[in-house]
């Protein structure tokens, strides 16, 4: 589904991604871990198409298409979803209106008929249940005045609405108390099928108790320096990154 080959990216003069290789297939869950500043969020942003970063080398294909040539919105419409670490507040724009446009754009892109208002409302109701999102929040402005937990739930709610092929969740667990973490993680798990894939970027092992990854990758200084299965996450939790990093000091 996603194939990243030797991806290099920089912001300004500074190179942050320095040769990423990653392949994600349908039905898989990947976790990307790594110390602060290793480039985890940058990888997510570059895949989503954030224009702040310049791709200097490498290739990314998504469903066989060259992802790097596509605009942010076309990547999204094709089914790439990025759950933001810090979802932005958009005053005055209601969640309902926002989602209505987003769903309509996606359907148009895929050549599907637009949803009727009642179909859309039904979809909203159905999907907000997935993450136990207070239905009142959907009538409020996007993320405005939401608590940290509500913002993250809202990301997963939108993921449910847009039903992506590939969801990249950037530190979705940060700032969540244990209940919110459970709800968010359960939401993600419920949405997971053999047809789609999830990439979870996280600092902590605890999220992976709920979302069990098939692969765990360690990102350090812009490269994946080690990959393993779920047990790698546990080992990292216990022993930190030093044992891995020492081999990669410059």
């Amino acid at each position: 589904m996603l194939k990243v080959t030797n991806l290099h990216a920089s912001v300004g003069e500074k190179e942050i991604l320095r040769g990423i290789n990653l392949e994600v297939k349908a039905g898989e869950v990947h976790a990307i871990m790594g110390p602060n500043g290793s480039g985890k969020s940058t990888l997510a942003s570059v895949l989503a198409g954030n224009e702040k970063f310049t791709v200097t080398a490498g290739e990314v294909t998504f469903e066989g298409k060259n992802l790097l040539e596509m605009s942010i919105e076309d990547r999204a419409r094709m089914g790439l979803f990025l759950g933001f670490q810090y979802p932005v507040e958009i005053p005055g724009v209601t969640m309902a209106n926002f989602m209505k446009m987003a769903v309509a754009e996606q359907r148009k892109f895929r050549g599907e008929e637009p949803l009727s208002t009642s179909e859309f409302l039904r979809l909203m109701r159905e999907k907000s249940a997935v993450v136990e999102l207070d239905s009142k929040l959907t009538s409020r402005a996007v993320n405005e005045g939401f608590s940290g937990g509500e913002k993250k739930k809202n990301e997963i709610f939108q993921m449910a609405m847009l039903d992506p092929k590939l969801a990249i969740l950037d530190e979705t667990d940060s700032g969540l108390d244990i209940d919110a973490l459970r709800i968010v993680a359960t939401g993600v798990t419920k949405l997971h099928t053999s047809e789609n894939a999830t990439v979870v970027i996280t600092h902590y092992q605890r999220l992976l108790d709920y979302i069990v990854p098939d692969y765990v990758h360690v990102l350090y200084k812009g490269r994946i320096i080690h990959s393993g299965d779920k047990s790698l996450a546990l080992k990292l939790e216990k022993e930190g990154y030093d044992w891995l990093i020492n081999d990669h000091k410059e």
Binding site: I72, P91, F109
Partner: protein, 275 residues
């Protein structure tokens, strides 16, 4: 339906101006279209709904008086380049809620005088300037006596070569203790020739007061655009949605009734599309 179509349809009870006294609680909205001079008095304890529509370039002088304990919800809408002076004077315990929408080259001066204790005034305004329009929004709120509240929020959007000017003054007289006054001016500039001037002013002669003002000039939030594009919206679409959101919370305060409010929202939307 546009506002003009609505007026022509005859569905509204309109009057042209003159002197009017609202002396009974009425459910409907008094609508005045293009008045030159207008005096409205809301009698004691009465709650009324007033809407002024300016659809062509002209000059208006409107005086509104709120008697003790009365309440007024007032809309003031400019679809064309009008000059207008709107004076509101409020007696004790009266409440005036104003929603102002300026979509043309309008130059409007509001003077709200709180003359009786515990009077409350709120004003939510929006102006949108396109092409080479020059919009002026001038608001003076006078706290002449103690224990009054006022709140104003005026949002401006200008694009192309348009200029938008907000002049606000909160005046607090020496005896107007326990005044609570807030004034906010928020503006968005689009394109590289637009011009925003904002002058929020405080003139305060009493010490036991809570007064604040704030003013911002900025652009559309790039982060928000990015976020919306990640959810599949195109950039122009995201931009318009943001602008609609920016002015929407003002426009949605209109209490003039369903059809009118919908028509107004449509006018705003079509204006924003021109930016």
């Amino acid at each position: 339906m546009t506002v003009n179509e609505l007026i022509q349809s005859g569905a509204l009870q309109t009057f042209e101006g003159g002197t009017i006294t609202a002396d009974a609680v009425s459910g409907g909205t008094l609508v005045s279209v293009n008045p030159t001079t207008l005096k409205v008095r809301i009698a004691e304890g009465v709650a009324a709904n007033l809407l002024l529509l300016h659809t062509k370039p002209m000059q208006t002088l409107a005086e509104v008086e709120l008697a003790e304990g009365s309440s007024l919800s007032m809309g003031d809408v400019y679809l064309a380049g009008s000059f207008a002076d709107v004076k509101v004077s409020q007696c004790a315990s009266s409440e005036c809620r104003m929603v102002v929408v300026q979509l043309g080259d309008a130059n409007v001066t509001y003077d709200v005088a709180l003359n009786g204790k515990e009077a409350a005034s709120s004003l939510h305004g929006v102006f949108v300037g396109a092409d080479s329009e020059h919009v002026v929004f001038d608001l003076t709120t006078r706290h002449n006596v103690s224990d009054c509240r006022s709140e104003s929020l005026v949002k401006g959007v200008v694009s192309d070569r348009a200029a938008g000017e907000f002049r606000g003054l909160v005046y607090v007289a020496q005896d107007a203790q326990r005044t609570d006054a807030r004034q906010t001016s928020r503006n968005v500039e689009i394109g590289n020739a637009a011009h925003i001037i904002t002058k929020p002013q405080l003139e305060i002669y009493a010490d036991d007061v809570k007064c604040s003002h704030g003013a911002t000039v900025g652009q559309i939030d790039d982060e928000a655009i990015l976020y919306m594009r990640q959810r599949g919206l195109s950039e122009p679409m995201a931009r318009r949605l943001l602008l609609e959101g920016f002015v929407g919370d003002v426009v949605s305060r209109c209490e003039a009734g369903g059809e009118l409010c919908a028509a107004l929202a449509a006018e705003v939307e079509s204006k924003l599309e021109k930016l």
